[in-house]
Structure formats: structure tokens, C-alpha cells
Symmetry: C2
């Protein structure tokens, strides 16, 4: 008997080629009855799938992409460790793509993922990205994606984050409780989901405690240390703040640098609090009060959900937000002398 192909099966069953193809893949959107009918005939006629096409269809690269802005950041380092802990257990390889906060690189990477190189992607959005077409295209093509930390609200899929607004509110309230009256915020790009939420948490806490808020108290840092330090120094000379709430640990270190240059003592003259996953926060001079995110767990959860989805024949990922709680760890940089 001559082997049949999918087209022949479709003709004989009076179904579309797409339906037969999906039925053979055990796709979630084909009824049980149709699947049984297709499989029965395929067996009867000794249907043999084209091995190359089958490998493509089954998404067998056993590789996932992680697209992140940078690695000089303890948050992402820990998140990657969390991702890899799951990937290793399930036999997946992890490829890391660094956007360096550059929208164009992000678009180029997304384009690379079209070719079956990876089975799915974990993404943390670049700080300069405002158009999300490249992610929408990936999603429309059926590549499962999960956002973590810096998410994209416009795209329906799973998102794993921390409680950015609440943590920032708590951080600002802590500084106020320790005696700060004029708190500056070193902000991350306001184009980012987390940039916005962290700034709003700060603004809300200031307003609730009847403290002055003004754009001149906020520096939107750009991840160029020399330039950031310059902007922060300018703000200090102009505003003379008594508290710093930094959205990212790198900016807190810029703050330490500026205080050292201006002979301001931490915490006597200026108190400092920062989002940070720095392992050695307690060995800083002075030790740094932090909002510490469960970065490892966030990476682990995002990867576990993605890999679980890959094994489930591609039912679309639910448009769901998983929020992990961060913790405030008080150290010397905010102590009220």
C-alpha cells in the first residue's frame, strides 16, 4: 500500500488539512471525536509523518530564550538562576539575549525567535521600548511567551512580577518614619511598567503624609553611571534632600558616590533605601536598607509555567498576573540616629 499524506487524509475524511494536522498533533482545539476519527484512518492507511516537519511542529529545540535588558544587576542574575534550575530539571537549554535597554536589539532578537530556534521565551522588556508589535507578532505566531519583572500589559499572556507599587509605598513610608522630610526618587524609565508603579508608590506615600512632591525631586536615571551621577549631584546641590529612594540598586550606589563627593554622611545627613538583590548589602558602608525581591522564585515560577505550557500541546497561556511579595530589610543606611 502506498503511504498517504495529510492532504489525502483530509480528502478522505472531508476535513481541512489544518484540522487533520492539528488532530494528529493532539491539539487542544480539536474535539476528541475528530481526533479519534483522524488517528484511526491514519493508522489504517499507514500514515507516516514527514520527520522534518514533525520535528518543527513538535517544537523540539528543547531550548528557551531569556530576553533581558542587562546582567550587571543582581536581580537578573538571580532570576536566571531560578529559570535555569527549572530548565535543567526538565532538560531544556537556556539562551540569554541581552538588549542593553535597546528597542532595536529587542526587535532583532524577537525576529530571530521566529525560525524555530527556541520553543518559548521569557521576556523582561527594554527601557526604551514603547511599541510592542515585535512581541505581538511572536504571540500571534504561536510562540509561548511569559513576561517577568518588566511586563507588557498590552499582550495577553502570563506575567510574573513583584508588588512594585506596594513595596515602593512601604519603602517611602519607612523613610518618612525614620525622619525624612524631603525624599528624592531615583527612577527607572517611566516607559516601563515597573518604572511607573515604583514612582506611583513613592508619590502616593509622599502625598498621604503631606510631604512635598515635585518633578524636580525625581531623577530618571539612564544607566550611564557618569551621567547619572552628574544628574544626581546636580539635584543634591539644588534640592538638598534628606532621603533617597532608589528604584534599582545601581542608582543607590550612584547615591553613595554623590554623598561621598559632597561629604554628606549616610544616614546622619541622608538616608538611603533601594530595591536591591545585592548579596553584600550588609557589608556596605553603611549597610544598605533594601526592598528585596524574591528574584530566584520569580524566575523559577516564570520558567515552570512556560515549560509546563510547552508540554501541554500549546493551549494558550492564560492572561494572568502572578505577584510575588518583596520584603523590606532594614539596615544602617536608614537608621534614625
Amino acid at each position: 500500500m502506498e503511504p498517504v499524506n495529510i492532504k489525502k487524509l483530509a480528502q478522505l475524511l472531508n476535513l481541512s488539512i489544518a484540522t487533520v494536522s492539528k488532530a494528529l498533533r493532539d491539539s487542544y482545539d480539536i474535539s476528541k471525536e475528530t481526533k479519534e476519527k483522524v488517528v484511526a484512518l491514519a493508522n489504517e492507511l499507514n500514515y507516516q509523518p514527514n520527520p522534518h516537519a514533525s520535528s518543527l511542529r513538535k517544537h523540539k529545540s528543547k531550548t528557551i530564550a531569556v530576553i533581558i535588558p542587562e546582567i550587571a544587576n543582581n536581580y537578573f542574575t538571580l532570576a536566571i538562576n531560578g529559570i535555569e534550575s527549572v530548565a535543567q530539571e526538565k532538560g531544556y537549554h537556556v539562551l540569554i539575549y541581552l538588549t542593553h535597554e535597546d528597542y532595536k536589539r529587542e526587535v532583532a532578537f524577537a525576529r530571530e525567535l521566529f525560525n524555530g530556534r527556541v520553543d518559548g521565551a521569557l521576556i523582561s522588556v527594554a527601557g526604551t521600548t514603547t511599541d510592542y508589535t515585535h512581541f505581538k507578532n511572536l504571540r500571534d505566531k504561536g510562540l509561548p511567551i511569559v513576561f517577568f519583572d518588566r511586563v507588557c500589559d498590552e499582550i495577553d499572556t502570563l506575567k510574573v512580577t513583584t508588588d512594585d507599587f506596594e513595596s515602593s509605598y512601604l519603602a517611602t513610608k519607612h523613610l518618612i518614619g525614620q525622619g525624612c522630610k524631603k525624599i528624592t526618587h531615583f527612577a527607572i524609565s517611566s516607559k516601563l511598567s515597573i518604572g511607573n508603579k515604583r514612582k506611583r508608590g513613592y508619590l502616593q506615600a509622599m502625598a498621604d503624609h503631606h510631604l512635598p512632591v515635585s518633578d524636580s525631586l525625581i531623577v530618571e536615571c539612564i544607566n550611564d553611571d557618569d551621567r547619572d551621577i552628574e544628574m544626581i549631584e546636580e539635584l543634591f546641590r539644588r534640592e538638598k534632600p534628606d532621603g533617597i529612594f532608589a528604584a534599582v540598586e545601581r542608582y543607590a550606589m550612584d547615591g553613595y558616590e554623590v554623598c561621598s563627593r559632597l561629604n554628606l554622611r549616610i544616614p546622619q545627613d541622608v538616608k538611603v533605601l533601594s530595591f536591591s538583590n545585592l548579596r553584600i548589602a550588609s557589608f556596605l558602608n553603611p549597610s544598605l536598607t533594601t526592598i528585596t525581591q524574591p528574584a530566584f522564585d520569580i524566575g523559577k515560577e516564570a520558567a515552570a509555567r512556560l515549560l509546563n505550557n510547552l508540554e501541554k500541546k500549546h493551549a494558550p497561556l492564560a492572561n494572568e498576573s502572578i505577584v510575588f511579595k518583596s520584603s523590606l530589610i532594614q539596615r544602617a543606611s536608614t537608621s534614625s540616629i
Copy 2:
């Protein structure tokens, strides 16, 4: 006129197919005369290369792999930035593979690179690797590879490192000059080229200054902080050293932790010096004296040489060692009170 293929060209020219193929690729090991003869006939007979085969042959993935042990390490973070600065300029993408010091992962990654996914690789060897067959296979297959930092002496290719022996000698001598009489070494895996050189530099300096050396003064750390701290604490209780020379910044932080637990003051009771690219070394309590490697430049040079080679039609990379000098930056952790 019917188009000809390579086989036909070879017959007509009385050359081997391999020679014609190489001549058409402008390979370095075909003479200029032969190349001209082949190209002339190919043009005359309107030879059209098979586009798919040609793309494979020309190594057009425009992607390079970076295989490294970890990223929770400021050295590798900076080296990657150096690599990417060159890759971006030349239009290459960079894929990062993390071995987590695991030989098996390294072998699996090397196998993945066989399939044309990347045009070349920059490699820093895992701490558990003792067999280099997987790298030799890559090399024999013609994939250009450059080793950096943790190199593999058994394989003839370009290697970019720092002056590990000299820097370690200098570091140990500095501790001795500041008054240390019993210096412990927190070593990186002795299976690694750099592990060996750093240990030898320490041993030589101790011997040259007639100070005691013994295996019981050396801890070979395993990158598990809890376990490493335990081993270090045991050594401190047993040996009561007055100086620490750490091969990696992570171990220096383990040393700070142990000194804090045992109520030992740095630098009064114990002086600490470490290889480190920590940006905030000066904000530590106390600030940390470091051997600082030009990590960005090392990554940049390794990538520049690799990409330069890719553009030069694959003349093999010379078996050459490029050595960058590191610098000792003195801070409070080694000051002689």
C-alpha cells in the same frame, strides 16, 4: 546555456571538487592562480551556487556563542559588555550559554554549536572540566574558538588572559608588606588554568619571603556560599590567619562574612585582598583592596579577534596568548594600622 554545478567545473578544470569549492569561497589555502582560473570558468559558464548550501558555507548566522561558567560575577558581566561592544559594531548577535561550572552542560552546549547555529565561540572553561574532547571536536570541525580568562592549554587557538601568576605574586607580597605573617588562600578550582596560576603566584611569594606554606592554609572553594563559609570558618578557628588572598571576589565576601561572625576586625586582625571587578569595592566596610582585571578589554579583544577571523575566510586562529595586565588597587582592607 544550462547552468553548471561544482562537479562539472571540477571535471572541466581537472581539479578536485573540494579545491573548486574552496576556490569559490576565496579560501586562504588555495593559490591565487587556481582561484582566478576557477572564478573565470565559473563566470563563463554562468555557475550559480546553491543558495542554501552557500549560506551554510559562508557561516551567515551572524551569531557568536559565549560559553561561561556564571554571571553572578562582575568579571564576566564586564567581559560580556566588552564582547557585545564589538559584536554590535559588526552586526553580530551574542548568545550566552551558562555552564554553572558543570562539565556535562559544557559538553551539551558544545554539541549544540555543531549545527551551524553560531559562526564562532568565545569560551571560559567550567571548573569541573578535565577532558577537552568536546572543544577539540569543535575545533576540528572548523568552528573558530577563542578562549578567555579560563583557557584550555591543550587546544591550539587564541587565548586571552590576564597575568594571573604575576598578579597573585604581587597581591601576596603586598599583604606581607602590610605585616601579614600567616596568609590563607581562598582558591578557585585547581583544575582550571587560572586556579593553578593564582595558587602558584601565592605559593611562590610566600616561599620567597620565607613564610610558612601548607595545604591547611588553602581552601578550594566550590561556589556554594554556605559550604564555602563553613570551610573558611573551620580554617579560621584552626589556623588563625592574619591575611586573606581570595582568587575570586565572591570568596572575599565569604571572608567578610566569617570575620563578622568571629568578631575579627578588618584590617586590624585580618587583612583582605581579592581579585575583583566589583564596582562598589570602595563602598564596602572596610573598602576592599583588589587585583582588578581589565575585564571589559579582555572581552573586547577576544571578540574582536574572533570576528576579524570570521571575516578572513577562516584561516585558523593562531595559537597565541594575549596577556593583559591587572592592577593592584589599595584600599582600607589591607591598611597597616
